[in-house]
């Protein structure tokens, strides 16, 4: 993973990725800048150190759409990607469909995703 992760991060109960997920992006085709974590952007400096190193993805497209509707400046496009074991670790966090994805460091994240809809 691109930055030195905090101790015990990803959490021990995070699993190898094996899930189709949806992600909110600003541009199509997907670009690397839309796939930076808070830690990489040096934002949310008071947030949970481990969550800062992950990305928010949703198992349900409708939940990703709804999140984009709640905060339009997150982006107005929904991208879909099939995360597999080599892509990193995944854990369900916050509400049921929301997952935190800790990408593996040798993964070109944006190339896994394809924009499927504009909201």
């Amino acid at each position: 993973m691109p930055l030195v992760l905090p101790h015990d991060c990803p959490p021990t109960d995070a699993l190898d990725c094996e899930l189709e997920v949806y992600y909110v992006v600003k541009v199509s085709p997907c670009e690397a800048t839309d796939f930076q974590t808070h830690a990489e952007r040096n934002s949310q400096r008071n947030a949970d150190p481990c969550n800062r190193c992950g990305l928010s993805v949703w198992k349900d497209e409708a939940d990703a759409r709804y999140q984009a509707g709640k905060h339009p400046r997150l982006g107005n496009m929904i991208a879909r990607g099939r995360l597999q074991a080599e892509h990193g670790k995944l854990k369900q966090t916050y509400r049921p469909s929301h997952h935190t994805w800790w990408p593996a460091d040798d993964v070109e994240r944006h190339s896994i995703f394809e924009v499927i809809a504009t909201v």
Partner: protein, 375 residues
């Protein structure tokens, strides 16, 4: 620098106070909607807009009341509505703050219309009329049409999906699914949100029926919203039901309402129907309006002497069948066939999912395989 720093006028840094979350209503890596206390002890509602180029949060702050928060928590108010207050401020991560008017913000600084605190509160379906409408000229006929359009549109879809169900469905129970409670009305344009029916059986038949009806509705809306059309929809009972539903959803050909927006759980995404969609639907209905002659065999069941309707089932005990109606002159023949439980030959015309019966003849004995002639 965020372009939002150019909106409104600056205010002293300490005017808004620390904006420490008092009650976090929503969060994603950070509190994204929460209440906080102003230095004056008045309650504030704080909404996360974005992260600026330096990674600092930009937030919208408005005064609020506990009743507004309760409405938000119960799904009776959208986030956007809760944020539309006459006083508003922008709070930047470096401590700067500005006094603004919410209406001066770029549209993407606020949640989209119709977004609630939780997706669970999302309306089953929302209907929004636009056109020559503002809050001063919403007539009773517009309100009536908006509130009635969903009931009329869902009924043929649910009739279709439940008619296919071998276990049948009591009429009163089905009515709950299409006669949905209006949960919220908004003026400006005119918008009605419909919530879930009371005592919805979320794990059983109700959910299955609604999902099937939603699938039909989405196919129909997708078809109707296309502006040019070279093909007509399939000529089958399912599309008869879909077109019947669409007839109630498209805007009228003339008058104030020129566009109908539909959104919510049933539609999946927002769909906009304009008058081209109206023309598409009318043309398709006209094409199907020509009745087709049919010749069927089966057993008369569910004869309603008041409505002059019955179901023709291919075999005893089989629950699916053709919906038929007749005029007074055939009541005796249909009644005899119903009481005798003998197989009949029926001649009529199929139109809009129903068969208008013109001849009913009892057969002496089972005449072999079902025959059906249409054309």
């Amino acid at each position: 620098m965020s372009e939002l720093r150019n909106i409104g006028s600056p205010i002293p840094r300490n005017y808004l106070g620390a904006l420490r979350p008092k009650h976090v209503l929503d969060e994603l890596d950070r509190p994204t909607l929460f209440t906080a206390s102003f230095p004056t002890t008045q309650l504030a509602l704080v909404y996360w807009i974005e992260e600026d180029a330096l990674g600092d949060d930009v937030r919208l702050v408005v005064p609020t009341q506990s009743t507004i928060i309760e409405h938000l928590l119960r799904g009776e108010l959208t986030i956007r509505e809760a944020l539309r207050q006459p006083w508003a401020w922008l709070a930047f991560g470096d401590g700067d703050a500005r006094s603004i008017r919410v209406e001066d913000l770029p549209h993407d600084c606020l949640p989209r219309a119709g977004i609630y605190l939780s997706r669970e509160f999302e309306p089953i379906i929302s209907v929004r009329f636009t056109g020559d409408i503002d809050e001063n000229n919403v007539t009773a006929s517009i309100i009536g049409r908006a509130t009635d359009t969903v009931r009329r549109a869902l009924k043929p879809l649910l009739d279709y999906v439940t008619d296919r169900d071998v276990e049948g469905r009591p009429t009163n129970s089905l009515r709950r699914l299409y006669d949905l409670p209006a949960r919220r009305m908004a003026y400006g344009s005119f918008e009605v949100d419909f919530g879930a029916p009371a005592q919805l059986d979320l794990l059983g038949d109700d959910r299955r029926y609604m999902e099937q009806a939603a699938g039909m509705l989405r196919r129909g809306l997708s078809w109707a919203a296309e502006t040019s059309k070279d093909s007509t929809p399939p000529d089958d009972p399912e599309w008869d039901a879909i077109l019947t539903a669409l007839r109630y959803l498209v805007p009228p050909g003339t008058g104030q309402v020129s566009n109908v927006e539909l959104s919510g759980q049933l539609t999946g995404s927002k769909v906009s129907l304009n008058r081209q969609a109206t023309r598409n639907v009318i043309r398709a209905l006209k094409f199907r309006g020509k009745p087709k002659a049919v010749n069927l065999e089966g057993y008369v069941r569910e004869f309603d002497r008041d409505k002059l309707t019955f179901t023709l089932r291919p075999e005893p005990g089989v629950m699916h069948g053709e919906k038929c109606y007749c005029d007074e002159s055939l009541v005796g023949d249909v009644d005899d066939a119903f009481n005798s439980e003998r197989r009949v030959n029926l001649i009529g015309f199929r139109s809009g999912g129903w068969i208008q019966v013109v001849v009913v003849e009892e057969l002496a004995e089972h005449s072999g395989p079902d025959s059906q002639v249409e054309g």
